[in-house]
C-alpha cells in the first residue's frame, strides 16, 4: 500500500466549490431544458461563488499561521484566503451583472467557464511552487481564451480570443522558460526551497527570475507587456472584460508579490528596481494612451494598465506596508473597475453597439442610478476623496515614500493629474453638454430596456464598496495587514 500525502480539504474548499459549480453548470447546459439553462447556470455558479466566498472567509479566520500543503506545492495562508475572498465576490458580481446579457447560445458554457477560471485563480493565488503556479496559470488562461471568443457571431470577439491566445501562450512560454532556468540553477521547485537553495547568485538564476517576472507582468497587463490589453478588453464580451480587468489582474499581482518576496528576497535590489521601471512605464503609457481613446472599454483598458503601475509601485516598496497597501488598493480598484464595466455593459445592451464616450452622453440624467454609479467609479479610479481609490493611492504613496523612493511619489501624483483628463471626460459626458443649449431634458439616445435588478444590485455593491472603503478604511487595512503578514517580509 503506497503512502498518499495528507490532503487538507478545507484549504482546497474555495477552489473545489467553484470547480464543482462549474461541472454542474456544464452538465446543466446539456441536461436542463433550453429555456431554463440560464436560470439554472446563474443559480448554480452564483451559489458556487457564495460558497467559495464563505469558505475563503473561514479559511482566512483559521489560517493565522501559514502552512505548506501537498508536498509544498500550495500554501494555506491568509494572503491566499484574502485573494480568494475578493475573487469569489468579484465573480459573484459578474454572474449577477451578466444575467441580462441576452446571450442566445453557449449560456451554460459561459457560466461554467467563468467558475472554472475563477477556480484556477483561487488555486493560483495560493500556489507555492513553480509547477503549481504554472499549472494554475494555464488553467485560468485557457478558460479565459475561450471566454474571450465566446461571442462567435462577433468578429471582434473572435479576434480578441485569438490575440489573447497567441500572446497569452507566448507569455506562458516565457514564464515556463524562466521556471526552467530557476530550477536548473537551484534544483528546487518550491518557493521556500528556492530561497534557501545555494547557487542563487549565478546569471542563469537571475535571468530565470527576470523571465518569470515578465511572464507574470503580461497577466498583470503592465507596460511594456500590455499590448494585448486594449484589443482584448475591447473585443471580449463586456462581462468577461470586467472579470479579466479585476480578477486576472488581482490574482497575477498577488502571485507576483508572493513569488518575489518568498522565492527571491535575496535579489530584492534587482527586482524592486525592475518593478519600479515597469510601474513607471505603465503609468506613462497607460495614462497617455487612455487620453486618446474614444471607445470606453479601450479607455478603461488603458486605465487598467495605469493602475497596474500604481499597484506595482506598492510591490516595488518591498515592505510590509507595501504589501498591505497593495492588498488594500485592490479592494476599491476591483469594485470600481468591475462596476464601470458593468455600467458600460448596461449601456451596450441599451444601444446595441459598442459604447464610445460620446454615446454615454446624457446617461447621468436618463438613468440616474447608473450615472451616479459611473460617476463614483470614475472618481475612485481617479483617486478623489470620499472614495476608497483616494486612500489606496495615498497608502501606496506613503509605502513607497517610506521605502525611500520619493521620486516615484512625484511620478505617481503627476500620473494621477494626467488621469483626470479621461476620467473626468466620462463624467462630463454623463452630465454635461457643450454649446449654447440650456440644461433641459436630454433625449434618450438608446432604447429603454426594462430595469435589470441583478445588474443594479451589482452596481450598488460596487458603490457601497467604493465609498465604504473610504469611510471604513481601518478595518479593511487591518484585514489586508493580516493577509500581508503571511509573507516573509
Amino acid at each position: 500500500m503506497s503512502q498518499t500525502p495528507h490532503v487538507d480539504w478545507f484549504a482546497l474548499a474555495p477552489t473545489l466549490s467553484l470547480l464543482g459549480a462549474s461541472g454542474i453548470a456544464l452538465l446543466g447546459a446539456v441536461l436542463v431544458p433550453r429555456a431554463a439553462v440560464r436560470a439554472f447556470s446563474v443559480a448554480v455558479t452564483g451559489a458556487g461563488f457564495v460558497v467559495s466566498a464563505v469558505f475563503a472567509a473561514f479559511l482566512f479566520d483559521r489560517s493565522a499561521d501559514p502552512t505548506l500543503l501537498l508536498s509544498e506545492s500550495m500554501t494555506r495562508d491568509r494572503l491566499g484566503a484574502f485573494a480568494a475572498l475578493l475573487l469569489a465576490l468579484v465573480g459573484l458580481a459578474i454572474v449577477l451583472a451578466s444575467w441580462g446579457d441576452r446571450r442566445r447560445d453557449h449560456v451554460g458554457e459561459y457560466y461554467a467557464l467563468l467558475a472554472a477560471s475563477a477556480a484556477g485563480m483561487v488555486f493560483f493565488v495560493s500556489s507555492s511552487s513553480l509547477l503549481t503556479m504554472f499549472l494554475a496559470l494555464e488553467w485560468l488562461s485557457i478558460s479565459l481564451y475561450i471566454l474571450c471568443s465566446l461571442d462567435t457571431h462577433r468578429r471582434e470577439s473572435l479576434e480578441a480570443g485569438l490575440k489573447y491566445l497567441i500572446i497569452g501562450s507566448f507569455s506562458s512560454g516565457i514564464l515556463l522558460f524562466g521556471c526552467a532556468l530557476v530550477y536548473g540553477a537551484t534544483g528546487e521547485l518550491g518557493f521556500d526551497a528556492i530561497r534557501e537553495a545555494t547557487g542563487a547568485d549565478n546569471p542563469m538564476f537571475v535571468t530565470g527570475m527576470a523571465m518569470i517576472l515578465a511572464g507574470l507582468a503580461f497577466k498583470v497587463s503592465a507596460a511594456p507587456f500590455h499590448m494585448w490589453t486594449p484589443d482584448v478588453y475591447q473585443g471580449a464580451p463586456t462581462s468577461v472584460t470586467a472579470f479579466m480587468a479585476t480578477a486576472t489582474k488581482l490574482s497575477a499581482l498577488v502571485v507576483t508579490y508572493r513569488i518575489l518576496v518568498t522565492a527571491f528576497p535575496e535579489q530584492a535590489e534587482i527586482w524592486s528596481v525592475a518593478v519600479a521601471v515597469i510601474a513607471v512605464c505603465s503609468l506613462a503609457i497607460g495614462n497617455l494612451a487612455a487620453i486618446a481613446q474614444k471607445d470606453v472599454k479601450r479607455m478603461l483598458a488603458y486605465s487598467s494598465v495605469s493602475h497596474a503601475g500604481f499597484l506595482l509601485i506598492a510591490v516595488a516598496a518591498n515592505s510590509e506596508d507595501g504589501a498591505t497597501s497593495l492588498l488594500f488598493y485592490l479592494i476599491p480598484y476591483v469594485a470600481a473597475t468591475a462596476g464601470a464595466f458593468v455600467v458600460v455593459a448596461a449601456r451596450e445592451r441599451e444601444l446595441g453597439r459598442p459604447v464610445s464616450v460620446a454615446s454615454l452622453e446624457g446617461l447621468g440624467w436618463e438613468r440616474p442610478f447608473l450615472g451616479v454609479g459611473m460617476w463614483v467609479f470614475m472618481l475612485s479610479l481617479a483617486g478623489f476623496p470620499l472614495t476608497g481609490g483616494f486612500l489606496g493611492k495615498l497608502f501606496v504613496f506613503s509605502a513607497i515614500y517610506e521605502a525611500g523612493w520619493w521620486w516615484l511619489v512625484v511620478i505617481g501624483v503627476l500620473a494621477t493629474a494626467l488621469s483626470l483628463a479621461y476620467y473626468l471626460n466620462i463624467v462630463r459626458a454623463l452630465y454635461m453638454r457643450p454649446g449654447e443649449i440650456a440644461p433641459g431634458p436630454i433625449v434618450a439616445t438608446g432604447g429603454s430596456p426594462p430595469r435589470d435588478l441583478l445588474l443594479d444590485t451589482a452596481v450598488a455593491a460596487g458603490i457601497v464598496v467604493t465609498i465604504g472603503s473610504f469611510f471604513f478604511v481601518q478595518p479593511l487595512v487591518d484585514l489586508a495587514r493580516d493577509a500581508a503578514a503571511s509573507l516573509p517580509l
Partner: protein
C-alpha cells in the same frame, strides 16, 4: 460636537435633498431650511465661543486610518470660526439666490450646493492635515458639475480649465502631504512638527497659489468666474480662495518657519505683482463679472501680504480682510447675476443709467462699491490698513505697492459704479424695475454685516487668535521636529 454638526448638517441635507423625490419648490425650500438651520447653529455656537481661549473649541476627534496616523479631527480657533461663518452666510445667500432664480434639476443642484458648503465648513475646521486635503479635494467635485451643468455658454471649457489648474496644484500638495505626514509619523496638526524641506513647502504653496490665485497661476480665474452660475461665483470668489488663506495660516506658517523666511521675498513680490496686475486688469474689463473677478484676485494679493508679513498686524488684517472681501465679492456676484437676469447682459457697453428710478439697486451697488474701494471708515479700510502696517515691517516698498493698490481699487470700483448706474443710458435693461424684496433679502444681510463690521472691526480682528497675539500663537504651534 458643534463642529461635527456644522459639517454634517449640509452634507446630510445634501443626501436627503438628492434622494427625496420632491417637487422643485419643496426641494429648494428644504435646502434653504438646511442652510438657515446652519446659520442658527453658528450664531448659537458663537454665543458660547471663547474667542480668547488658547485651546481649540467644539473639537472632536475619532480614529480613522490609524495605520498612517490619520484621524477625523476637527476643532475651532477664533479665526476658523469666522471663516466658517463666512462660508455659512455666503452659502445661505447663494442658496437663496438659486431659489430666486429657480434653478433647473433642483435635486441635483441643491444636493451639490449643500455638499459644497459642507466640505468648505469641514475644510475650515479640520485639525488633521489629511482631513484638510480630503475636504480641499472634495469641494472640487460639486464645483466641477455645478459649472459644467448650470454654467454659461462656455461652461465646458471653464470646467476643464478650472480642474486642470486646481488639480495640478493639489496633486503637488498631495505629494507634499504624503512626504510631510509620513516623515512626521502623524497627520494631526497639533502633533506634527516643523520641516525645513523647501520642496515640501513649495508643494503646499503651489496648491494655495492656484487657489488664491496668485500671479502667474491665475489662468483659470476669468473664465471660471464668468461661466459659473452667479451664486456659485459668489462662493468661488468669496469663500473658496479663503481655503488658501486658512492653509497658509494654519499649515504653512506654523510648520515651515524656515522656508517661509527664505521665500518671503519671492512670495511678497509675487503678491505685489498680483495686486498691481489684478487692479490694472480689473480697470480694463468690459463687464461686471470681469471687474469683480480681477478685483478679487487683487485683494487676494493684498491678503497674501498680510499673511507673509507674519506679524500681529498683518495676520489680524489678513483674517479681517478675508471676511470683508468674501462678503463684498459674494455680494457683487449676486448683484451681477441679478442685473444680468434683468438686462440680459453684464457688459458695460450695453448697461448704464440704471440709477434713474431704481433707488434700491443704486444704493446697494454704491455701498458695495464703497466697501470695495476701502473708503476710510469702512471695515475694508481697517483690514487693508492693518495689512499695510504689518507688511511695512518687512519693507516699505511692499506697503507702497499696497497703498497704490488702494488707489487703483478706487479707480476700478468707481468705474464699475458709474458704468452700471450712471453714464449714458444703455441699450439693455432700460425697461427693468428696481430690486424687489426677494432680491433685497439676499443682498441686504451681506451689506448689513459689512456695516456692523465697519462700526466695530475689532469684532473680528481682536477675536481671531488667542490673546490677540497671532504671531506668537502661530509660532507656539511649532512642536520640535523629530
Amino acid at each position: 460636537m458643534l463642529t461635527t454638526l456644522l459639517i454634517a448638517v449640509p452634507l446630510v441635507a445634501a443626501v436627503v435633498v438628492w434622494i427625496l423625490p420632491l417637487s422643485k419648490e419643496s426641494t429648494s425650500g428644504l435646502a434653504l431650511l438646511a442652510v438657515l438651520a446652519e446659520v442658527g447653529l453658528w450664531v448659537g455656537g458663537a454665543r458660547n465661543f471663547d474667542f480668547s481661549s488658547q485651546t481649540q473649541q467644539y473639537s472632536a476627534s475619532r480614529e480613522w486610518f490609524s495605520d498612517l496616523g490619520i484621524s477625523y479631527s476637527v476643532g475651532l480657533y477664533g479665526f476658523q470660526y469666522w471663516l466658517v461663518g463666512l462660508t455659512i452666510v455666503v452659502g445661505a445667500a447663494a442658496i437663496g439666490y438659486a431659489l430666486w432664480a429657480g434653478r433647473e434639476r433642483p435635486r441635483a443642484y441643491y444636493g451639490l450646493m449643500l455638499f459644497l458648503i459642507g466640505s468648505l465648513v469641514g475644510l475650515f475646521s479640520s485639525q488633521d492635515l489629511l482631513l484638510f486635503y480630503v475636504f480641499f479635494e472634495a469641494m472640487l467635485i460639486p464645483i466641477y458639475v455645478l459649472i459644467g451643468v448650470w454654467g454659461g455658454p462656455r461652461r465646458v471649457k471653464a470646467t476643464v480649465t478650472f480642474v486642470l489648474y486646481t488639480m495640478l496644484g493639489s496633486m503637488l500638495m498631495l505629494a507634499s502631504v504624503v512626504a510631510f505626514g509620513i516623515t512626521q509619523g502623524t497627520f494631526e496638526l497639533s502633533e506634527i512638527g516643523t520641516s525645513s524641506n523647501d520642496w515640501i513647502f513649495l508643494g503646499f504653496l503651489a496648491a494655495f497659489f492656484v487657489k488664491s490665485p496668485i500671479l502667474p497661476f491665475h489662468g483659470w480665474l476669468r473664465i471660471t468666474y464668468t461661466e459659473a452660475p452667479p451664486e456659485l461665483s459668489a462662493i468661488l470668489s468669496g469663500v473658496v480662495p479663503k481655503a488658501a488663506v486658512f492653509g497658509l495660516v494654519w499649515i504653512v506658517l506654523p510648520h515651515f518657519p524656515g522656508p517661509v523666511d527664505d521665500f518671503r521675498g519671492l512670495v511678497l513680490v509675487l503678491s505685489a505683482a498680483t495686486l498691481a496686475y489684478g487692479s490694472l486688469v480689473a480697470f480694463r474689463q468690459p463687464d461686471i463679472r470681469g471687474v469683480v473677478a480681477y478685483s478679487s484676485m487683487a485683494q487676494m494679493g493684498l491678503i497674501m501680504f498680510g499673511i507673509f508679513a507674519v506679524n500681529d498686524l498683518g495676520l489680524d488684517g489678513a483674517i479681517l480682510h478675508s471676511i470683508n472681501h468674501g462678503l463684498v465679492s459674494a455680494g457683487f456676484f449676486l448683484l451681477a447675476g441679478i442685473i444680468e437676469t434683468r438686462a440680459g447682459t453684464g457688459e458695460f457697453a450695453r448697461l448704464g443709467g440704471l440709477a434713474k428710478g431704481r433707488p434700491a439697486l443704486a444704493s446697494i451697488v454704491l455701498m458695495l462699491g464703497m466697501f470695495t474701494l476701502a473708503v476710510p471708515g469702512s471695515t475694508n479700510f481697517a483690514g487693508e490698513f492693518a495689512i499695510l502696517a504689518g507688511v511695512f515691517d518687512r519693507g516699505w516698498g511692499y506697503a507702497a505697492v499696497g497703498a497704490a493698490g488702494m488707489v487703483l481699487a478706487a479707480m476700478y470700483a468707481l468705474r464699475l459704479i458709474s458704468a452700471i448706474l450712471h453714464d449714458r443710458r444703455g441699450s439693455a435693461g432700460t425697461d427693468t424695475g428696481d430690486l424687489v424684496s426677494g432680491e433685497l433679502v439676499l443682498v441686504i444681510p451681506l451689506v448689513a454685516i459689512l456695516a456692523v463690521l465697519s462700526a466695530y472691526p475689532a469684532l473680528i480682528s481682536e477675536r481671531s487668535f488667542p490673546l490677540d497675539q497671532p504671531a506668537s500663537f502661530i509660532s507656539s504651534q511649532e512642536t520640535p521636529s523629530r
